[in-house]
Symmetry: C2
Subunit: 890 residues, 2 copies
């Protein structure tokens, strides 16, 4: 027969599934001998039985009676006793903390009789009636579902009648009257009397906690957080203690170390003659915890002892709630405490020094997300006016003059820092984005072009600042309140918060980045030392290698400084922009004219070769994965709309239309696609446009051969994008091998992106022709979900997050159930077909902590991400290795 009720002394912290997080920690403290008010926990199993069948398990009432009797014995009072009433709290407590659930009902056990007993017992009539009215109010609202506003209005009316402003000015008589009013409200709203039987109060509260598991907010929260719907919640019943019985009582919060800086020492707040909710309400100022020493030295010393006990026991920063009831210290709750990113690193490292944990465990105490936060410059304090708030698309702090055009931004950036301001960006803005300190747009979300490219560059970006009216032609934007910023005015943007300021705000650089860049020594300050120590340990532990996505020698060098062990994705499309646009246009316009096409390709060859030579030099001795051209060709041409308008206007106004513009329009119209993402791109270009991929392969091979001749050690991997069928790869592989042979460089690996769902589903076949797979999880997510990131974020992602359809955008964190399943299939079946095949990821997920753990689980050989994310990936790959230690990861 299952056991549905556990005394606190019967549980421990490993029973979170059964007792919930709160119950498990209360049990742990009880077992440590700490002074916890006695109580018991009703298990999640009991909740599940109730939710399945609509009634409590038959045995529950009896078990509760038994445990209640034990509780009454321990505390020496009885529930409902008219003289010495026991009061209890009833609290929900699931395995995972769930803000959507019912929280707490306090003071259960009071009724019209026992309130007098409490008054006598406490010697404080006002306290007793205040406790009672709080019970009626909380119970009415949370258990009986009465609109809470009705109680608040009643209090307000009473205060008006009494001519007072604060609840504290109401006396015992007022509160007695208020309790009566509250009871009438309950009767009126629910058609029944407020229950005066204390056991009935308790049973109804327990049932209400059970029911709250399926409340609207809880279900929405679970949907968002992907918490299974069938876990159920536990219920904690605990004797009440009171910090508001006088100046010999009080309540407080304590931290075993400083959660803001990680510094060693006692931190916290204390408030005399108060209950927990008063601290939260913030009506009175709390006192620093240290002052408790003067107020009540024995209690203070006892608390410090318990804090030491807990920190040694949990081997981590603990966050504690306590109450002193007439000099008697009670420990109400503890949990491992939250902390800032910097504190996390410092505390983890310090705990190692103190011998409490080893380096492996220290590594699990910090996260990549925390490290990423530490890598961005920040704004200092400022008086500059904040004029708007957009999306915090790419963190950091940037200051510069506003410029509204990418070419001018590039020009002006030569002499002063620039913020590029656009409605939205396109690939044509790349030069401006590279030149600018930061990017500000008035449209688009976190997956807009601006956001994605900025994050890839590690560049500050605020996007979708919709309050700003950007007038590109007028070279200005207007903020709410009529503030006008003209080109050349200084603005400051905070990519971490999304704030936009007029004027210059001081920027504090990140010491962690200075350390990665080599301009700050590892022992320069405690934070850098802790980061260095843990990252070095992560490197020694991780199974996966970490590479950088880099398209230029500069990016490659930065990636290498940041610890990259190669390039996982070198995109070549950026190499076709700028000065070379004309050649690409010639290539496209050549159509079937072989001579014209070859001329364009020949002109591109030396440029491409130089591109690759620089990158191979920067990454000498490390692998470089070069992706052949991916985007549709019309991305290199003007837009159909613009060109149509241009020519129509010339015609309408009787002006001559240059023949080449007309030819260009024809080409643009011919190449126009309804859905370019699903059009002629990637391997399809290579199969349809004679000589294009061969040009790229030749440039790669020639660059590698030259590098080798110069004594270098190029390690080349040629990657074919968008393959969906092995036959596509076979054809390109054959052609490429022929070119490699012609050039006389045959050491390159040839592999493919796995970014089309069908490629994952037929990976066993594709593996036969591939030396490596690199998962392009951006496209895999787009095609697997059937939505394009460019189109859908603005249109419906926010609504989807609201509805709980996503907990997090699948473009940020890999969707394990859907897209992850494709990745897993491809890994397992690709490896079964070709055991030595190299597996990696080069989508943006390669820099996302949760996704990196997934990559480790499925056995990838490496992750690749933007240079700025490389340290994050190193850290998370190390953590992943430690977490899966002991289990067979392959």
């Amino acid at each position: 027969m299952p056991k549905y009720v556990y005394d606190f002394s019967e549980g421990n912290r490993d029973l979170k599934d059964l007792l919930g997080g709160k119950g498990a920690n209360l049990a742990e403290m009880t077992n440590l001998g700490l002074p916890v008010p006695p109580g018991f926990t009703i298990t999640t199993e009991a909740c599940k039985v109730y939710l399945d069948g609509g009634r409590e398990p038959a045995e529950l009432a009896g078990e509760v009676t038994t445990h209640l009797a034990t509780l009454e014995g321990a505390i020496g009072r009885r529930l409902g006793d008219p003289e010495h009433p026991l009061l209890v709290s009833v609290r929900s407590g699931a395995k995972f903390s769930m803000p959507g659930m019912m929280d707490t009902v306090l003071n259960i056990g009071l009724n019209d009789v026992s309130v007098d007993g409490l008054a006598k017992q406490s010697g404080n009539e006002r306290f007793a009636w205040d406790s009672y009215r709080r019970l009626v109010q909380m119970f009415g609202k949370t258990v009986l579902g009465v609109d809470g506003e009705l109680f608040e209005h009643a209090i307000d009316r009473l205060k008006e009648q009494r001519g007072v402003k604060s609840d504290l000015e109401l006396d015992a008589g007022d509160l007695r009257a208020l309790t009566g009013t509250f009871q009438s409200i309950v009767k009126e709203q629910t058609g029944r009397d407020f229950p005066t039987d204390p056991r009935e109060q308790m049973d109804l509260a327990i049932r209400a906690v059970f029911d709250s598991w399926n409340g609207d907010r809880a279900r929405l929260y679970r949907r968002q957080e992907r918490i299974p719907a069938d876990l159920g919640t536990a219920v904690n019943v605990q004797a009440m203690v009171f910090g508001n019985l006088g100046m010999d009582s009080g309540t407080g919060v304590a931290f075993t170390r400083d959660p803001a800086t990680g510094a060693t020492g006692v931190y916290g707040d204390y408030l005399e003659n108060a209950q927990g909710e008063d601290v939260v309400a913030g009506i009175r100022n709390t006192r620093p915890l240290q002052e408790l020493e003067q107020i009540d030295k024995p209690a203070y010393d006892e608390l410090l002892g318990h804090m030491r006990t807990l920190e040694h026991h949990y081997r981590d920063l603990c966050d504690i709630e306590f109450t002193i009831e007439r000099h008697k210290l009670w420990m109400l709750q503890t949990r491992v405490g939250k902390r800032t990113a910097g504190a996390a690193f410092i505390i983890a490292s310090t705990l190692v020094d103190e011998g409490l944990i080893d380096l492996d465990e220290a590594l699990t105490r910090v996260t990549g997300a925390q490290l990423a936060q530490l890598m961005f410059p920040k704004f200092g304090e400022t008086d500059a006016p904040r004029i708007a708030k957009g999306m915090n698309a790419s963190p950091g702090a940037a200051v510069g003059v506003a410029v509204f055009d990418s070419d001018r931004a590039e020009e002006r950036a030569k002499s002063e820092p620039v913020i590029l301001v656009r409605r939205e960006t396109t690939p044509d803005d790349l030069n401006g984005m590279i030149a600018a300190q930061g990017i500000l747009t008035s449209r688009g979300g976190k997956t807009s072009h601006a956001a994605v490219v900025a994050r890839g560059m590690g560049k500050t970006c605020v996007c979708g600042a919709e309050e700003l009216d950007v007038d590109l032609a007028g070279r200005k934007f207007t903020a709410p309140g009529g503030v006008v910023v003209n080109e050349g005015d200084v603005v400051s943007i905070d990519g971490t918060s999304g704030a936009v300021y007029v004027g210059e705000v001081e920027v504090v650089p990140s010491p962690v980045v200075e350390y990665f860049e080599g301009t700050l020594a590892p022992d320069a300050d405690p934070l850098v030392a802790a980061v260095h120590r843990l990252l070095t340990h992560a490197d020694s532990k991780r199974r996966m290698k970490v590479r950088a996505n880099a398209d230029t020698p500069e990016d490659a060098e930065r990636g290498r400084r940041f610890g990259a062990q190669g390039i996982g994705l070198c995109r070549t499309e950026h190499m076709f922009l700028g000065d070379r646009r004309q050649l690409v246009e010639d290539l496209i316009l050549a159509g079937d004219d072989e001579a014209a096409r070859d001329a364009a390709l020949q002109a591109l060859l030396p440029m491409q070769r130089a591109d690759f030579a620089g990158i191979f030099e920067a990454m000498d001795g490390l692998p470089v994965t070069v992706r052949l051209l991916d985007p549709p060709l019309h991305e290199f041409l003007p837009s159909l709309e613009d060109l149509s308008v241009e020519i129509a206007v010339l015609e309408a106004t009787g002006k001559p239309v240059p023949e080449e513009r007309r030819a260009l329009l024809d080409a643009v119209r011919r190449l126009h696609e309804q859905n370019p993402m699903l059009g002629l791109r990637g391997v399809r270009l290579g199969l349809v446009i004679p000589g294009l991929f061969q040009l790229q392969v030749r440039a790669i091979a020639e660059a590698a051969k030259m590098r080798k001749a110069a004594g270098g050690d190029p390690r080349v991997e040629i990657m074919v994008p968008l393959v969906g069928a092995v036959q596509e790869l076979e054809v390109i592989r054959e052609e490429s091998e022929q070119v490699l042979t012609e050039v006389g460089y045959d050491e390159a690996l040839i592999g493919t992106m796995i970014e089309v769902p069908r490629a994952a589903l037929t990976a066993a076949q594709i593996a036969e022709s591939a030396d490596f797979f690199s998962f392009g999880t951006n496209d895999l997510t787009q095609m697997g979900w059937g939505f394009s990131r460019d189109d859908v974020e603005a249109a419906f992602f926010s609504r989807y997050l609201d509805l709980g359809i996503f907990g997090v955008s699948p473009f940020e964190t890999l969707d394990r159930e859907g897209i992850g399943r494709l990745v897993r299939i491809a890994c397992e079946e690709g490896r079964a077909a070709k055991p030595g095949i190299k597996l990696g990821i080069c989508g943006e997920h390669g820099g996302d902590p949760d996704s990196i753990h997934f990559c480790d689980e499925v056995g990838l050989d490496y992750v690749s991400c933007s240079p700025f994310r490389v340290p994050v990936a190193r850290l998370e790959a190390g953590r992943a290795s430690i977490e899966t230690k002991g289990s067979d990861t392959r």
Copy 2:
């Protein structure tokens, strides 16, 4: 130890894997006691060993020697014997017929000595030298790889020298000289003498057959036909017999029934004093087979006997090649013969009557593709000029006046038949397409809008007729040669061949369709009777139901007449076009203005209700699956390009721009998507636009309720499109159930399309909220492969077919390995999660024969296709049941 060589008497027709198709049938005839020239088959296993290791298996030479000796004993001549030389043929013969492979080398065994023996033995010196020069030519070309043109040129030069026109005019001396010339060519081209050792000739020819398995054309053919690359080919070595030894010899082809009409009786051709290649060359006119009775009655009677034997043995129409050598009949080859679609039905039915096969087997002898061919009207003989050839996008024959605009086409079709001529069609052309007899476009391929919609309607379409220069503004098109067709001129288009004619061509309606429509009795003619009989049998055998895709009551009724058991897909987007476009525009332009939005929805409600009422009436008693709105909203608005040009031109010419056009442009620009297919559509619309799906559900429920009140039996299934996550469906389901409750009709099933890859991958979760799945394999193919049908067909499908990347477009036949795997996963896991879930398919694949068999394999409950394909699907579903009979299909 494997056995590498089989005498013909050792094999049988079940050994096609080992002996190839040709070898197996030769063995079968030998075992039947038919006079087959003796020979042996070298197995595919021997070929595989050779291909793997680059050399023949060690045992092969010895086995060949043994079998050659047997052959020589049987025929009484020896290979290379100077007096009585044995000549043999060496032919390839794989399991599947492969036109890409080496075919045949004849006359092996001839050399400068044995040619005299052959001359004496045959008494015909010219014959002997002609045979020899043919050997050197064939051997040189196929075995030694000499360019065949060189031999042809030598013949031409000789004929010039002799002043003759025909090969036949060359005498024995000429041919002897020519043989010498041919030998010199071989020596010159290969650096070696033509091999005169007969055994060496044979061994080299065998090896050449092995090698031909990996020839370029063979590999391409296999890639296209998805024939495994490791099967290998068998080699047949057979004694030569000669039909060209005089007027007492000859060669012919015979069919056991008429392959054109299916009529019973002997058919064939005979040519005296000739070899098989002479028949093929067509230099002399063949004689009807029946005349052989006069020429050589004993041989004729013997042949007829063998034909009866073969037909009874194979229980099917046989196609036979035979040779008579000096009155002696030799059977050279047999196989089950090809036949026309009509003959297939008639023969299958007749064989049942004759007791040779049962109805189950008869059903396997006909295909859905054949039935589909019989359902289209055809053109009769014509003198009208054919002016172009486009793609045969949707079969049939249509005649009408050319009209270049859909609105005019609709108008003009009221008084006369119309052919709608466009460069390409868009959804706006729907009215014109509905009104027209046929559609002709100058752009787009078989999956263009015109082709897809026309096939869906069963309407004749020729698309991509690129020779035609369509001038929409001038209301005319120009064909090659300057032929101009103006609006109103009559044209005829043949959707089966792609031909376009000027003028009227007579159209012969399909009797099979007349039978389906009920205007022709089942016994009206033999063809209709056979179709009726086999289709009725298919209905009695099939496990899967067949439904129609129908959006109107008219389509629903036709589907029902054609045997549909419900509607599997009723699209609702067509219901928002035409007169209602303005309301939809109002709805879109309403944006966040609730009142305006509700007004538009309220105005649409009665119209939608009437739409559904008509369909429910037509399908009374049968299930109707209504899909909620799927396409992106901007499909209902003008194009961005057109509207931008319109307004820019007004501005440039100083004319006023109407405010509503400007507002419309803003809306179009706001709703513009980079990739509409991956944008705001389907369930996303339902989640983002308040009230839209509720409007549709309300209209459905009200129509069903009214129908029920009127005594009808509506069976409603509401289908949510584009679901990728169960959470999406949960929200819509909840809202829909609320509407159903409000209306008071709660019998509707609620299910979802499975058309997004992620939906298939998470089908177990989605099944929890779905009463049914309907596979939308069009979108599943697009997203799974990552290409949009609108964009890619023209751009690269033809190239892909050329390269053998596809054997067939995955939009025509379901790609089993990739997309089929998703379907299989969803079926298995959906059913595991909810055993009673209903599974169907409503993509175009539901009408494709091969795909229907796949649907049966994975256990779908029904397929749904266009009304015209319903009989095809009924037939194929029946065949699928019979083929899987005995195996557990679920």
